[in-house]
């Protein structure tokens, strides 16, 4: 392997890893806040990708310009999912754990089916884009611009999430995750905090989805693969840890890129799951887990 190849592999791993990190951050935020795994996380990603493709076809605007619209739309969707489904699932009297698992699992199947019905099973992609298929190269290393833009946007969104966690609202989030019953004693409505947490988690995965749509084909099942990677990322980084999601996301991106290079591209996930199993055996709480 030449130095260029090494750099090329490292760079594509990093670019993809930053997207994985933001997808995982949304999942981790919701899990950390209320101990609920959102099994519909991949489907939220898929919805954001479709929204981007359809908006792009309808308006001809670049996906970068659609970003605020999709992010706000996904935020609202996240709040609605909490208000209409999750909040109710929290209040059930019997078998609460099972209900909480199956409510997001059912939501995932529903969204996937609805997408199949509405959009059909064909692969779609963004047609109009400033950066589409453009690359720049430094020496022998090729940098695809859509991927570069996507990873930078994800990094900015990630920084915004960290910034939010340092605000007073962020401390209210932390207080709610530490003792959801006690926040009522300081006048905090935990349902409001939970709903906003779902909104933020969905907006994060929505931003990742919009940027992903600039270079990745969309289909009703596209979410499953990314969701699987997100679960591994969250477990690797430590449940509920934002830093963990970032480090683990990049790590997984790199491992995937290296595996695809050394083995075959079709085996690119072997390395990621191997690392995951090793971490689970050596350090079950993940790299940055608090529990």
């Amino acid at each position: 392997m030449t130095l260029d190849t090494v750099l090329q592999v490292a760079l594509s791993g990093l670019l993809m890893g930053l997207i994985y990190a933001l997808v995982a951050a949304g999942l981790s935020l919701i899990f950390g806040l209320m101990d609920i795994v959102n099994f519909a996380h991949g489907e939220l990603l898929m919805l954001a990708m479709y929204a981007t493709v359809l908006l792009n076809a309808a308006t001809g605007l670049d996906p970068l310009l659609q970003l605020p619209v999709v992010a706000v739309g996904m935020f609202v969707l996240g709040v609605l999912i909490y208000r209409c489904l999750i909040g109710r699932a929290l209040g059930v009297q019997f078998n609460r754990g099972m209900v909480q698992i199956f409510v997001t699992f059912g939501l995932a199947i529903f969204i996937r089916g609805a997408a199949q019905l509405a959009f059909g099973g064909d692969f779609r992609s963004v047609n109009v884009s400033w950066l589409g298929n453009k690359t720049v190269h430094f020496g022998g290393v090729y940098v695809p611009l859509p991927q570069l833009a996507a990873s930078l946007v994800c990094l900015v969104a990630f920084a915004a999430l960290l910034g939010i966690s340092r605000t007073e609202f962020g401390r209210a989030l932390e207080a709610t995750r530490e003792d959801r019953d006690a926040v009522a004693l300081i006048g905090i409505d935990r349902d409001r905090i939970f709903a906003l947490g779902w909104g933020l988690g969905a907006a994060a995965v929505g931003i990742a989805g919009t940027m992903l749509a600039t270079f990745y084909y969309v289909s009703p099942t596209v979410g499953a693969n990314f969701a699987l990677i997100a679960y591994v990322t969250v477990a690797l980084g430590g449940f509920g840890s934002m830093t963990g999601a970032l480090v683990a996301g990049v790590l997984i991106g790199e491992v995937e890129a290296v595996t695809a290079q050394v083995l075959e591209p079709s085996l690119k996930q072997v390395g990621m799951f191997a690392i995951y199993l090793v971490v689970l055996m050596v350090r079950p709480r993940g790299l940055f887990g608090k529990i």
Binding site: D179, A184, D189
Partner: protein, 239 residues
């Protein structure tokens, strides 16, 4: 009987964890009073405070400042001016002392002087000021109790309810904390409803008291009279 009633319970019943914990409890607290609720373990004292703060569903009527608390969610009851220092303190363990206190004013975002009660809290509990940057979980039991009271004061309550503030605390600090409760009434004008196992201390601090036994009020009156009555103590309090 009190004149200006801030809290009134009429024929209140409640179940807690499937057990009937309160039956037909009626009780009044006047503005500016310290009222103690005493009784043996399991008499329903904690359930009484949970009922008032909206954490358990109840039958009967509970009014605060003339407004019914029926079906008002717990966080709204806090915002109406009912502060609770709960059993086990329920601090946010990984947050700093300062964040625990400041979050007490979270619901008042938009009010310019919402952090003003911090000075009051530091005057009452100077130790907290020395420990501002520490995580709440690193405090001693007594300091945690001070922080729990301070956090409740940050919500600017008109009625402060305390659930066993002396529990699990070094004897030396118990006096400090009960002295602070007295000052909260005299200096801040906050009405206090105190649930306490330590009969002597509670009755010495309170103006009036209610004796609970298996979920019913079996006696009420001036705290000094109840403290002086050995028969009451033997019959209801297991002493």
């Amino acid at each position: 009987m009190p004149g200006d009633v801030i809290l009134r319970l009429e024929d209140v019943s409640a179940a807690y964890k499937g057990l009937r914990a309160l039956q037909g409890v009626s009780l009044e607290v006047a503005r500016g009073e310290i009222v103690a609720v005493v009784g043996a373990n399991g008499a329903g004292k904690s359930t009484l405070l949970r009922a008032i703060s909206g954490q358990v569903s109840t039958g009967g009527v509970i009014t605060f400042d003339g407004k019914s608390l029926a079906r008002v969610p717990p966080h709204q009851i806090t915002r109406m001016g009912v502060g609770l220092v709960p059993e086990g303190r329920r601090l946010f363990p990984r947050l700093s002392v300062e964040d625990n206190l400041r979050l007490g004013a979270y619901a008042r975002r938009g009010e310019a002087d919402r952090f003003k009660p911090l000075d009051t809290v530091f005057a009452l509990f100077p130790r907290l000021k020395e420990r501002l940057a520490q995580r709440a979980e690193t405090l001693s039991g007594g300091e945690q109790q001070m922080l729990a009271i301070g956090r409740a004061l940050m919500t600017q309550p008109r009625l402060l309810m305390l659930d066993e503030p002396s529990q699990g605390i070094a004897p030396k600090l118990v006096d400090d904390i009960l002295a602070a409760v007295a000052r909260i009434r005299t200096d801040l004008g906050v009405t206090v409803l105190l649930v306490e196992q330590r009969l002597g201390e509670a009755l010495a601090l309170a103006d009036r008291a209610y004796v609970l036994q298996t979920g019913r009020v079996v006696m009420s009156g001036m705290a000094a009279d109840i403290a002086a009555d050995d028969g009451v103590r033997r019959a209801y309090l297991g002493l």
